[in-house]
């Protein structure tokens, strides 16, 4: 892929995009470059526009728990700044080098999703550049706002196919002083799902219920955060024990969750959208395919990791589940998004045509 000059302002990014559109050249946007394989192969002659030059942290309004970030700001850099005020942007996907733009455009999330939602839920305003040269904004920088259409949600997870995200306003959250995690080891898929379900339906205010699974065994991780998280973790451990899981409580729990995050990456990773009660079925399929799973049990979102990539495995999984291919070898010939109903595809095409009339954002 040809790399165009890196723009350093949103106007320059907009002009570069418009120029490519005028010439009919397909364009891709590149942030940290950590998820390039998540998109289909780019057509020949595609030009890459880097967002690295738009890396200004425009505002951090600590008192209002909001921030405005240039699209190319590395997420870790923004988090380091927010941390000084005891705050964070509650997005914790696994990549160290990802930019805020890449995380938003791919809709990538980590374990904090269970409590705080994903990019769609935390972005409160957005500036975009469209292929016809338009620079526009939607939303604002307050956390509550229903003025105008929610263009930011449309662009979150759109992989840059409607235009370029150039700036985002985000809602921040305070970092809880203490955390504790109840871990329950399960010997079979049903036990695991029962344990996760029992905690998920309890009134305990969890900061994420994750599962991990490999080779017929797994664990439930129920995390609690706040001023006094341990009593809740103990209560969760009781619920897990009652379902037959072997439990312990981990106070210094960060490494556990780093592992959960890390397991969302691999040679072939499929993100599965399902329902909590279908977890055992998914875990059995994972066993059949020889893969491992981590997931946000209460949300019904799971990441299936396979050590050996095969298009056949993707096809097999998609017979029963909605699954997007994330990490993959670049030469593995699969459609990353997976099948989309015709009615939705038609509507998506109409949206695409309006936002990217030149059809160059690929």
């Amino acid at each position: 892929m040809q790399v165009a000059a890196a723009p350093s302002t949103r106007e320059e990014l907009g002009s570069a995009l418009a120029a490519a559109a005028e010439a009919g050249t397909p364009v891709r946007f590149r942030g940290g470059g950590t998820k390039q394989v998540w998109a289909p192969a780019a057509p020949a002659g595609t030009v890459e526009l880097s967002t690295a030059g738009l890396a200004e942290i425009v505002e951090h309004n600590a008192g209002d728990l909001t921030a405005v970030l240039g699209v190319g700001v590395p997420l870790a850099e923004a988090q380091a700044l927010f941390a000084k005020e005891g705050q964070r942007l509650a997005l914790d996907p696994p990549d160290g080098g990802a930019t805020i733009g890449g995380v938003v455009a791919s809709g990538d999330t980590g374990p904090l999703r269970g409590r705080y939602g994903g990019p769609r839920d935390l972005v409160v305003g957005m500036r975009v550049a469209l292929s016809d040269g338009t620079l526009a904004k939607s939303g604002g920088k307050v956390i509550k706002n229903v003025a105008g259409y929610d263009i930011a949600k449309l662009f979150a997870g759109s992989f840059g196919t409607l235009g370029a995200i150039v700036e985002v306003s985000v809602r921040l959250h305070p970092v809880a002083p203490e955390t504790a995690t109840a871990v329950g080891e399960a010997r079979n898929a049903e036990e695991l799902a029962r344990g996760a379900g029992a905690v998920g339906r309890s009134p305990l205010e969890h900061h994420g219920i994750d599962v991990r699974w490999r080779g017929g065994r797994g664990a439930v991780l129920a995390r609690f955060a706040g001023a006094t998280p341990r009593p809740q973790a103990e209560a969760a451990a009781k619920l897990l024990s009652a379902e037959g899981l072997a439990t312990e409580i981990v106070d210094d729990d960060e490494p556990l969750w780093d592992e959960q995050r890390a397991a969302q990456r691999g040679p072939l990773v499929l993100k599965v959208s399902s329902l909590p009660t279908r977890l055992p079925e998914l875990l059995r399929t994972a066993d059949e395919l020889g893969g491992s799973v981590v997931g946000r049990a209460a949300l019904g979102l799971s990441w299936l990791r396979l050590e050996e990539a095969s298009a056949q495995a993707v096809e097999q999984l998609r017979r029963d589940f909605i699954a997007a291919v994330q990490d993959r070898p670049p030469d593995l010939d699969v459609d990353p998004a997976g099948p989309i109903d015709e009615g939705v595809r038609t509507l998506m095409a109409r949206v695409k045509e309006r936002f990217d009339p030149a059809g160059v954002c690929v």
Binding site: N145, V146, L275
Partner: protein, 483 residues
């Protein structure tokens, strides 16, 4: 009545049954306004479909006849979003009130649009609840909540309608039906659910809605603290939030609101207090206990603090807050309610400006607000019977909105733009922004038949192929408006 209209009405009657097509003038009057009575328009007819297929038949008939339409839930909205159009139909979803499925194992509920907000929480109680809770939750419908992206007192902690909708069956303006999302999160493709929620009925009609519900918190603690001024109370709000405490609800009322609400409810609020701050924490017992003690300490400078000892006392504290709008009749015969949002840290500054502006206009403004997220509800009180006062009130309301936007806020936090606030849209969005909004609308509704005249400040059409927006030379010279 012309031939085309007779034909359309016959088609509608065939689709939904003649008894569900309203054409009598006096019956149509019932539907001429929503919760914002300043706007009243009599529609050509009102149709009440009872199923997705009937909605489809109605919308398809309108599509063929080139007739615009407005969808309506309970009609409790406060932005005129369900104000009918004179040349069009009003499609009431009030007959579609089935709770289709309650799946607590997966914490999902499927409802038709006419189901009330409170009915969802009732259907999943006592162990679960549906968090968005607009004040009108007893009557307002989920279909209306989806259209407006409704919030409520608890949204600072729990989020808005958009955070709880995972899927929608939508009848598009051409009469076709499409399922966006579903029971699962993160369906492949664009987040059209996210684009649809909050689109104020301009993209289509949701006929089936998948919602997430969550477990009810173990414990709830509520207090109300009374301060000498809203500035003092505002400082406490800032301190609570900066300590990392996220209250389930944190609401403030100023003296005028306190006086009106107390007169109506006898909730025991001191009528000489400058501000009342209601703080409610929910969550685990241990967490509530620790945090609540902390909140009490932070309220140390209050003139008095009342802690609810049981549900009855909690209800009493909330009764005054919830009655505040309705009680304004005690202050003045009429009022304008605004819904602006400001960054919370600008509270003292903006309240000062509002007070000054109210003085200049010789009118009273009562302030009731969701303090956590900076959503103000200034109530501009006036007497419509006094010549010129309504106009003065309207001008004052506009200046208050402007002050909020200038402070970095928004013209609306939860009521929507509708017809009432569309004139303020240019204060937040420039022409390129508005034209970009229009692209989304055109993708769903190229003929502009769904709730026309709402959201956008000026009417606009959809071109076949949207070209780049270029300012006309005359416009550039400042001699002509684009529309």
């Amino acid at each position: 009545m012309d031939g085309g209209e007779v034909e359309l009405l016959a088609e509608l009657s065939a689709a939904v049954g003649a008894e569900h097509v309203v054409t009598h003038e006096h019956q149509l009057r019932t539907y001429e306004s929503d919760g914002l009575l300043q706007y009243a328009v009599t529609p050509r007819a009102v149709v009440l479909p009872g199923s997705t297929a009937e909605v489809q038949a109605v919308v398809r008939a309108c599509h063929r006849a080139g007739v615009p339409w407005v969808a309506r839930g309970a009609g409790s909205g406060l932005s005129g979003g369900a104000t009918p159009v004179a040349e069009g139909l009003l499609i009431s979803l009030s007959r579609m009130r089935s709770i289709v499925e309650v799946d607590l194992a997966n914490q999902r509920v499927v409802v038709e649009p006419g189901v009330t907000n409170i009915a969802v929480s009732q259907a999943v109680g006592p162990d679960h609840f549906y968090p968005p809770d607009p004040s009108s939750q007893i009557v307002c419908t989920i279909g209306g909540n989806v259209a407006e992206n409704s919030g409520g007192a608890h949204c600072f902690k729990y989020g808005f309608t958009t955070n709880y909708v995972s899927g929608l069956d939508v009848v598009l303006p051409d009469g076709s039906e499409v399922t966006l999302g579903g029971p699962e999160l993160d369906h492949p493709g664009y987040d059209l659910v996210g684009a649809f929620v909050g689109s104020e009925g301009t993209l289509g009609i949701a006929t089936r809605i998948w919602l997430r519900v969550i477990p009810k918190p173990e414990d709830v603690r509520t207090l109300v603290a009374f301060f000498g001024s809203t500035v003092q109370a505002g400082e406490v709000v800032s301190r609570i939030v900066s300590e990392g405490i996220v209250p389930g609800a944190i609401e403030m009322m100023d003296n005028l609101s306190i006086r009106a609400a107390e007169g109506a409810t006898n909730a025991g609020y001191p009528v000489d207090a400058g501000a009342a701050l209601v703080v409610e924490l929910d969550g685990s017992e241990a967490e509530c206990e620790t945090r609540f003690e902390h909140v009490k300490e932070l309220c140390g400078e209050a003139d008095s603090v009342r802690v609810a000892q049981d549900d009855e006392e909690r209800e009493l504290i909330w009764r005054a807050r919830k009655a505040a709008f309705a009680a304004m009749g005690r202050i003045a015969p009429n009022y304008y309610v605004q819904d602006s949002v400001i960054p919370r840290t600008k509270l003292a500054e903006v309240l000062g400006q509002i007070e000054e502006l109210a003085g200049e206009h010789e009118l009273q403004v009562a302030n009731v607000f969701h303090a956590g997220d900076g959503n103000l509800h200034p109530l501009v009180c006036y007497d419509g019977a006094k010549p010129g006062e309504a106009e003065r009130a309207e001008e004052l309301a506009g200046l208050i909105v402007k002050a909020c936007v200038d402070a970095g806020g928004s013209i609306t936090g939860e009521h929507g733009v509708g017809v009432d606030k569309k004139r303020y849209m240019p204060s937040m969005f420039d022409e390129a922004d508005l034209a970009t909004f229009q692209r989304l609308r055109c993708a769903f509704d190229p003929h502009g038949r769904a709730n026309p005249g709402k959201v956008m400040p000026t009417p606009r059409l959809c071109g076949e192929v949207p070209g780049p927006y270029r300012r006309h030379p005359l416009e550039q010279a400042g001699v002509a408006e684009r529309f």
